[in-house]
């Protein structure tokens, strides 16, 4: 177990190094010049040079990257190149927004996905076919379009939820819930569809196994067999899918954040990409990689707990 954890941490660190390096050289090699972004369209070459010197992008690329990475491993994320302040502050303000909607979406998707999938597998027939159609529709709906429709109907037309913006939980739990409800729905639909499909298939598969037949022969109630035995054995694949969707939700949050004017990490990544703000971009990517590694680790541990036959190695 210890060896496994150490391996995961080391591979995560290597991933952070590789990804941030790739992003840095892509952004600086092919992306916009942050000094030009700051100077505006009609700035003279002298003005651009002055800003380049001011923000330090006139130095060799390797020196710029080395400088950032050296500070990063000491926990100093540095400052934005495009005047957006300390990167740590930007992240501490934007991460809770994205995490709120991504975790919220995952929680809702797990509850609904397992509920719908189990129901479809247990009842089959017309209900199953109906749910299958819903799943296809859910998977086919573009998240951005859905988010815009939700904003138009529930926020603009009905006024039930705010059309844009985020309220922190500490400021007002109720307003926090209102501010994340529509973004969560926007992110959830496709995940619910994917999880429920996986749950349905897994439950049907496990239900046909010998041990289930034995349990039925022993006279155990169907409900007990389904919830205590079948679902526990069937949970592996859906949980893996859920973990993957959580990772996807972090990137999918870009579209939803744009639709609801939220200043989450998706929004910050987009702005940093457009403006060539490499320190912000690399720091967010590094932290996202760390988060993804942790989520995968947690998923493995959860799977092992659910099914002792799965050994972490």
């Amino acid at each position: 177990m210890t060896k496994y954890l150490v391996q995961r941490v080391l591979s995560g660190a290597a991933l952070v190094f590789v990804l941030t390096s790739a992003i840095f050289f892509l952004v600086r090699g092919l992306g916009p010049n942050p000094a030009e972004y700051l100077a505006g369209d009609t700035a003279t070459a002298d003005q651009v040079s002055a800003i380049e010197e001011q923000i330090g992008v006139d130095r060799p690329l390797v020196a710029q990257y080395g400088d950032w990475f050296g500070h990063f491993i000491r926990g100093d994320l540095g400052s934005s190149w495009t005047g957006q302040g300390e990167v740590a502050q930007t992240i501490s303000a934007s991460f809770p927004i994205t995490l709120s909607i991504a975790v919220g979406a995952l929680a809702v998707a797990l509850v609904l996905g397992f509920g719908i999938g189990t129901l479809a597998a247990a009842r089959r027939g017309a209900l199953d076919r109906f749910l299958q159609v819903l799943v296809i529709v859910g998977l086919a709906l573009p998240g951005f379009w859905l988010a815009l429709m939700l904003a138009q109907f529930f926020a603009v037309d009905l006024g039930w939820f705010p059309a844009t913006g985020y309220t922190s939980f500490s400021e007002s739990p109720v307003e926090w819930l209102r501010s994340i409800t529509l973004p969560v729905i926007g992110l959830t639909v496709a995940t619910v569809a994917a999880i429920s499909q996986q749950v349905r298939n897994s439950v049907i598969e496990v239900s046909g196994q010998d041990f289930v037949r034995t349990l039925r022969a022993r006279g155990l109630p169907t409900r007990s067999i389904l919830l205590k035995h079948v679902l526990r054995n069937a949970a592996g694949a859906p949980l893996t899918v859920a973990a993957l969707h959580f990772v996807t939700a972090l990137s999918g949050a870009v579209a939803v954040e744009r639709a609801f004017g939220l200043h989450g990490i998706g929004n910050k990544v987009q702005i940093a990409s457009i403006s060539g703000d490499a320190p912000t971009l690399m720091s967010i990517v590094a932290l996202t990689v760390i988060l993804v590694v942790l989520v995968n680790l947690a998923t493995d541990v959860l799977l092992a707990w659910l099914n002792p036959k799965v050994r972490i190695s």
Binding site: Q89, A155, H263
Partner: protein, 506 residues
């Protein structure tokens, strides 16, 4: 039965919970009479007026800083911190008298010494102010209430510059402390309320208590909300989360349908192409004025405007602002859509099969490309598109022989001349210069009265249109969407109105 009951109870509890969340929400509070909430597309990279760039940063600048003069909505220069001013005989020195009751938000006086320091700071910056004050050779205090600005050469746009970024005044204390970018002490009607501001998403400004002209700014506070997508911004306006936003052609129908006010101003932008290789160094054909003219004849401006800019576009052949003294309505008739004439000019040039290379840049008039290619092909000019990466804006795009541009057009044509025509101009990548144009520009700089200036500007404009150095297609009117409770006076030559021109309706 028991199970069904339990499920029903659970479902009811969830519904009640949701209903409570919806009901408990504050709803969308309407705009209060004492706060104006305006959407801006991006957070300010800096709050230092010396480093700010034009565009919607203007709201940030105008909340925090007063300017020496005010450029009225119609372009008239009005007194502000400077109450009177006069030029010397050859317009190379401007003397301004300052009002004596203006203070910075730290209580210190806005006197001549402070103005000198602020203008010198603006000259040394990296933003629009630096460019606007390039002609200034020295700023000095004649006495505590008089400032003299000496120029290297005549600058017909100086007063306009002193009404915007060039003339925004930050306190000497901020300059000395090096804090002008994050916590500037300003001279304007409001101060940044750091307790209510969420950096990067919402900036709240409260009244500067000692401000001399509070009546000109009716709102007790200003909130600038950063929303970077047009759809989300419009939804925020429709649902009452904001009171005003920059408008676009694409969103105007939707805004009207939602009952919002669509304020339409005069054009402040033009879209088209810049032919930079006027000497034919890279693309020999572009060095021939007949080919440049043929390109202008080949473009169906009216058709493009009807298709893409039906609400906001005016077909144009001129790079200057329609409200500026350089504008000459008759020049718009110079290049009607006339493929036959274009073909004849290509033939007359004797260049045979003509090929021109045009740069293509992400999101910059890319929707016009198929039309431009088709229309030029129809008159015997083959277009080769050269894709320029976003990282290569300056050398790749602005250094290209011909490239698309969405360009501001200003009330003072000299600003456009500085941007487009001077040998050092950013949009004059190949440093074109002709004796004839030098002579015309010199006449502009030496003009000492309005009639002479207008005549000189029009001569420059006529020369440019005759020579076909540019292919302007459409002049674009500005739009600003507001909620019922807000009234706006649009500002000529600006993409957004002045903060002082956004007031409570009625």
């Amino acid at each position: 039965m028991k199970t069904i009951m339990r499920q029903l109870v659970a479902a009811t509890a969830i519904l009640i919970g949701l209903a409570m969340v919806v009901a408990c929400g504050g709803g969308q509070s309407g705009a209060s009479a004492d706060r104006i909430r305006i959407a801006v597309p991006q957070a300010p990279p800096t709050l230092d007026p010396a480093d700010m760039t034009e565009g919607q940063m203007l709201f940030f600048a105008q909340t925090l800083f007063d300017s020496l003069v005010v450029v009225g909505p119609d372009g008239q220069i009005q007194p502000n911190i400077a109450t009177e001013w006069s030029y010397n005989a050859d317009h190379t020195s401007l003397t301004m008298t300052l009002r004596d009751d203006a203070t910075f938000s730290d209580g210190t006086a806005v006197d001549a010494a402070a103005v000198v320091k602020a203008l010198d700071h603006n000259r040394e910056g990296t933003g629009t102010a630096h460019q606007q004050l390039l002609s200034v050779s020295d700023v000095s205090a004649v006495d505590p209430s008089t400032v003299r600005i000496d120029l290297k050469s005549g600058d017909p746009s100086l007063l306009y510059s002193l009404g915007t970024y060039g003339g925004f005044l930050v306190a000497p204390a901020s300059v000395d402390a090096g804090t002008a970018d994050t916590a500037p002490i300003g001279s304007g009607p409001y101060v940044l309320d750091t307790a209510q501001t969420v950096n990067g998403s919402s900036y709240v400004f409260s009244r500067h208590a000692g401000y001399w002209n509070q009546a000109a700014f009716p709102y007790d506070s200003v909130e600038l909300k950063v929303i970077d997508t047009p759809d989300a911004t419009l939804n925020a306006l429709k649902s009452g989360q904001i009171d005003a936003m920059y408008g676009t052609e694409e969103a105007s129908q939707d805004a009207k349908a939602a009952g919002l006010t669509v304020n339409v101003g005069s054009p402040a932008l033009w879209n088209g192409y810049i032919i930079a290789d006027r000497s034919g160094r890279q693309v020999p054909a572009l060095g021939d004025e007949r080919i440049r003219q043929a390109i202008n004849y080949a473009i169906d401006r009216k058709g493009i405007v009807e298709q893409f800019y039906p609400e906001s576009g005016i077909p144009t052949t001129q790079v200057f602002n329609p409200k500026s003294p350089a504008w000459d309505e008759s020049l718009n008739a110079q290049y009607p859509y006339d493929p036959d004439k274009a073909r004849a000019l290509v033939k007359e040039s004797g260049l045979g099969d003509v090929t021109v290379t045009i740069a293509s840049f992400p999101r910059l008039l890319d929707r016009l490309q198929p039309i431009i290619e088709q229309e030029l092909d129809a008159v015997g000019i083959t277009v080769v598109w050269n894709s320029v990466a976003p990282s290569d804006y300056r050398s790749g795009l602005l250094g290209a022989p011909m490239y698309p541009m969405s360009m501001s057009s200003n009330l003072s044509p000299w600003t456009d001349i500085q941007n487009l025509l001077l040998p050092t101009a950013t949009m004059n990548g190949m440093h074109s210069q002709t004796p004839e144009l030098d002579r015309l520009l010199s006449a502009v700089q030496s003009a000492t009265d309005d009639a002479e200036l207008q005549s000189a500007y029009r001569a420059v404009n006529t020369y440019l249109v005759d020579q076909a150095w540019f292919v302007p297609i459409v002049a674009i009117k500005t739009m600003f969407f507001t909620a019922d409770q807000v009234a706006v006076t649009m500002h000529d030559g600006q993409v957004v109105p002045d903060l002082r021109d956004i007031v409570p309706a009625g």
